[in-house]
């Protein structure tokens, strides 16, 4: 059982990292959203497996919340936003796919090294979980940095948050309250960002974040 528990958890967490890589090179918004939904599914599976392994029932609730919001509600909402804005066109990458993937690989390696150093003595399961979670967080940040489109920035932010939930689920004894609040804060962020996107597109007829900069006060 010990070996199986570790292997499955490893597989699911690794799958999450894989999904993050998939997100990095999606060039179309719909594909991006679908990949994001898939990542959320893998996340909820991973959390559910953790619940089973740790015997922590409240993690099932977390898994359900993650599935319901991240795999269903948020992708559908973003789909609608995209349709309403009429921007179902290509995503433009600022940095090419190749360098982005290489940077992503370096980040995963970095998070593995960091976790080996600071949590070397911890339980292997928890450590690997944390290493993958940190990778997902860093990849999400990377996505926010390299994308110009505001919708894909939002997706990057959400996938970053997936990494946080993975870390929370991997650490034993994290109370449910924290996860619920995190989930709802993401939902609130979605609402705010959605409103924000509509406003941006109304004003500037584009949701390219670079467009915003031309309206800023110039430095001396």
């Amino acid at each position: 059982m010990r070996g199986l528990a570790f292997d499955v958890a490893h597989l699911l967490a690794g799958g999450l990292v894989l999904m993050s890589f998939l997100l990095l090179y999606q060039t179309r918004l719909y594909a991006l959203l679908n990949t994001f939904a898939l990542q959320a599914v893998v996340l909820s599976l991973s959390v559910a497996w953790q619940a089973y392994v740790q015997g922590a029932d409240h993690l099932y609730v977390t898994a359900v919340i993650a599935f319901a919001f991240k795999a269903i509600v948020i992708p559908i909402a973003l789909h609608r936003i995209i349709i309403e804005l009429g921007i179902d066109r290509d995503v433009e990458n600022v940095v090419g796919v190749g360098p982005t993937m290489l940077a992503g690989l370096a980040l995963v390696a970095l998070s593995e090294v960091v976790m080996l150093r600071i949590a070397g003595g911890a339980d292997v399961l928890a450590r690997e979980d944390l290493a993958f979670a940190l990778s997902v967080v860093l990849l999400g940040l990377l996505m926010m940095v390299v994308r110009r489109n505001a919708v894909s920035m939002v997706v990057g932010f959400m996938s970053l948050e997936n990494g946080l939930i993975l870390a929370g689920a991997g650490a034993k004894g994290m109370p449910l309250v924290v996860e619920v609040s995190v989930a709802f804060s993401v939902l609130v962020a979605l609402v705010v960002i959605g409103v924000f996107l509509f406003r941006i597109s109304e004003r500037f007829e584009s949701i390219d974040a670079e467009a915003l900069d031309s309206f800023r006060e110039r430095g001396r």
């Binding site: 600022v94 090294v113 150093r117 600071i118 940040l141 915003l212 900069d213 430095g219």
Partner: protein, 670 residues
């Protein structure tokens, strides 16, 4: 109840007064409430501290569940804290009494009343704190409260700049102290003073901690070259606060240095005394030279504080060096001299600032060259100022003489050093101390003579009125204490022995048992002093001379024209001025501390306009050290300003990059 609990209760009372001050500042009740309350609380804490010094404080440490969670806020009063509590609360009580009268002339009481008790509470809390966190928190609280008081008259010219420079230097000092405590506390975070004592740091770390403590405490105390804020900030505050900042707050800084250097930083290393001795002597000389040149009465007093702090640090350096070379009898003498001078300076510097405040109230003038002839108009203030000036000039039988004499006695023991560096350095520093003392006497002849003697140089000085009764009572009390400590120095020295014992492990021989109130801190064969005898001689000879003059000379008052260089101009501006008085010293020593530019603008023969002497003094230390530093900071700020105008993605990249860099550092940390 233990002394710690009583002191904390007093501090809580002061903080409550601060709140009351904020609420009632505009009401007529506010001033007597705040200053009266501060007077009562300071007097009570003075009694508690004196008791703790005389009978020994409690051995226990009071731990309150505040501050850092696994340490709490610790408070403890040992003999050293008790002594400094006496100094601070004595000054505070005198300043509160003075302010009961003086505060009437305050323009914006709501800018002073809330911060004055908070300032007192901050100083008291620093002295009773027994862990690094509580210490630094109280230290910063004290700094901020005093900054608010410096800014009380923010609309006056230069005061805003003074406040700004003070704030920057105070932050810098706190930062250095933070480093000192961090080094002593070590990696496992022994923040409580007891834990620091139990496991002193390794020699190299202790050296760094000592240096950081010297910089941190020195910047607050006003050691050269970190003194630049002091002559700006101390005079800017209302006079009773100036007195407290000069008399008490600089002593709190000295306390911080003593606490770290002698108590917490482990066994002493004689090499560390070298910078202390040099910096102390330099502060003494540069402080007194600046005091001699300056034309602002309160700024003269502030510069003189730098000088006295320099003398105190010379005595501390000697004590440290003697202690490190296992000559504890001499170390005890030097430490006693330092502590006694700390006490004395608090007395006479407060007294002089009170006098300066009274002059400022009466005339609205701080410039020496606009005053004059005040002794006839303010006889009591003048008398007390004279006592203070004589005491600070180290004239027997007053208290300043005793401590400076003891410092020189300690210098005279320097041939006993086994290290040649100290054998040579200590007498050189001693010569500096002697020169400083002589120049200080010249400085206070000028600071007393120009405003109080001669004829009034302005209409304001001519119309001056005597200060109010309460202010005079505060000055009279301090003047009396100056005389009492000067005449009975043995008792004062004996009262200090518990504190000296704590720091050095030895104390000077008991002085009260000596016959006829003589003191002989080393041995009677090496030097002894009898304040009572000197006082009796001065009184006897003076009364004899006055009897002779009044009995045998003509009693008629004669007025004759003063010699006027053959140019009879009755204007009072032709009198000797402050600048004329300091001119010889300026010519001889001026180039040491200043860049002096004297330009004489002589009219051509036949021209009828007046000649002018333009005198410009610029501070060498400011030019060499601070101006380049300010330039570097300004340039860096302009460069970094670009960070404020990045795009959203660039901001995110900066955050992301910082995170990755931190993770790389974490991964590659050895």
């Amino acid at each position: 109840m233990s002394a710690e609990a009583l002191c904390l209760a007093g501090d809580a009372g002061l903080l409550a007064l601060a709140v009351a001050g904020a609420l009632f500042a505009a009401k007529p009740l506010g001033r007597p409430l705040v200053y009266g309350g501060a007077l009562v609380l300071s007097a009570l804490m003075l009694a508690v501290a004196a008791g703790a010094l005389a009978f020994g404080g409690g051995a226990e440490t009071l731990v309150l569940p505040l501050g850092l969670p696994w340490i709490g806020a610790r408070f403890h009063i040992d003999a050293l804290s008790a002594f400094f509590l006496v100094v601070v609360n004595l000054s505070a009580a005198a300043a509160s009494l003075y302010a009961l009268g003086y505060g009437r002339t305050e323009h914006d009481p709501e800018r002073v009343l809330p911060f004055y008790p908070a300032f007192l509470a901050g100083m008291n809390l620093v002295l009773v704190a027994a862990d690094a966190y509580t210490f630094l928190l109280s230290w910063e609280f004290m700094s901020l409260a005093s900054w608010a008081l410096v800014m009380a008259r923010h609309s006056e010219d230069q005061n805003a700049r003074a406040g700004y420079v003070y704030l920057v230097m105070a932050s810098f000092g706190t930062f250095a102290l933070l480093i000192a405590f961090a080094l002593v506390a070590g990696l496992d975070g022994r923040f409580a003073f007891e834990a620091m004592r139990a496991a002193p740091p390794a020699a190299g770390v202790a050296m760094l901690a000592f240096a950081a403590a010297l910089i941190g405490a020195g910047s607050k105390a006003g050691l050269v070259p970190l003194h630049v804020w002091l002559p700006l900030a101390h005079p800017a505050a209302p006079s009773h606060v100036s007195a407290l900042m000069s008399g008490a707050m600089t002593k709190v800084a000295v306390y911080a240095f003593i606490r770290i250097a002698f108590d917490l930083a482990g066994p002493p290393d004689w090499r560390l005394s070298i910078p202390v001795l040099i910096v102390g002597a330099a502060s003494g000389l540069i402080g007194v030279l600046q005091a001699l040149m300056d034309n602002d009465l309160k700024r003269v007093l502030a510069y003189s504080t730098i000088e006295n702090i320099g003398l105190i640090f010379v005595a501390l350096g000697l004590a440290y060096a003697f202690h490190a070379t296992d000559f504890d009898a001499a170390a005890a003498l030097a430490m006693t001299a330092a502590l006694l001078h700390i006490f004395n300076h608090a007395l006479f510097k407060s007294l002089l600032f009170f006098g300066a405040g009274a002059v400022l109230t009466a005339t609205g003038e701080r410039r020496l060259n606009r005053l004059g002839g005040l002794l006839n108009r303010m006889p009591s203030t003048g008398l007390f100022m004279l006592v203070g000036a004589a005491a600070i000039s180290a004239l027997p039988p007053l208290n300043g003489f005793v401590s400076e004499w003891m410092i020189l006695q300690a210098v005279l023991l320097s041939p006993a050093f086994s290290e040649w560096t100290l054998k040579i350095l200590a007498p050189a520093v001693g010569a500096g101390v002697a020169l400083t003392a002589a120049l200080a006497a010249a400085c206070f002849v000028r600071a007393f003579g120009i405003p109080f003697l001669g004829r009034p140089r302005s209409e304001a000085a001519e119309r001056a009125k005597e200060a109010d009764r309460l202010s005079l009572a505060a000055m009279a009390g301090l003047a009396a204490l100056c005389a009492i400590v000067g005449i009975f120095p043995g008792q004062a020295i004996d009262a200090l022995s518990p504190a000296v014992d704590l720091l050095i492990g030895a104390h000077v021989p008991n002085q009260s048992s000596m016959p006829w109130l003589t003191i002989a801190p080393v041995a009677a064969s090496r030097g002894s002093y009898n304040g009572l005898l000197v006082a009796a001689f001065i009184v006897a000879s003076a009364s004899m001379a006055s009897t002779v003059i009044h009995r045998f000379a003509s009693g008629a008052l004669r007025r004759a024209p003063a010699w006027d260089c053959g140019f009879p101009d009755p204007a009072p501006t032709t009198q000797y001025t402050g600048e004329s008085f300091s001119q010889p010293v300026r010519r001889v020593f001026g180039q040491l501390a200043f860049v002096v530019e004297e330009r004489i603008d002589m009219p051509r023969p036949g021209e009828t306009r007046a000649a002018h002497l333009n005198l410009r003094l610029t501070d060498r230390i400011w030019n060499l050290l601070y101006v380049p530093l300010i330039l570097v900071v300004e340039r860096t700020a302009v460069q970094l300003n670009r960070l404020q105008f990045l795009t959203i993605r660039q901001y995110m990249s900066v955050v992301f990059g910082a995170l990755v860099v931190l993770l790389v550092v974490l991964a590659s940390w050895p």
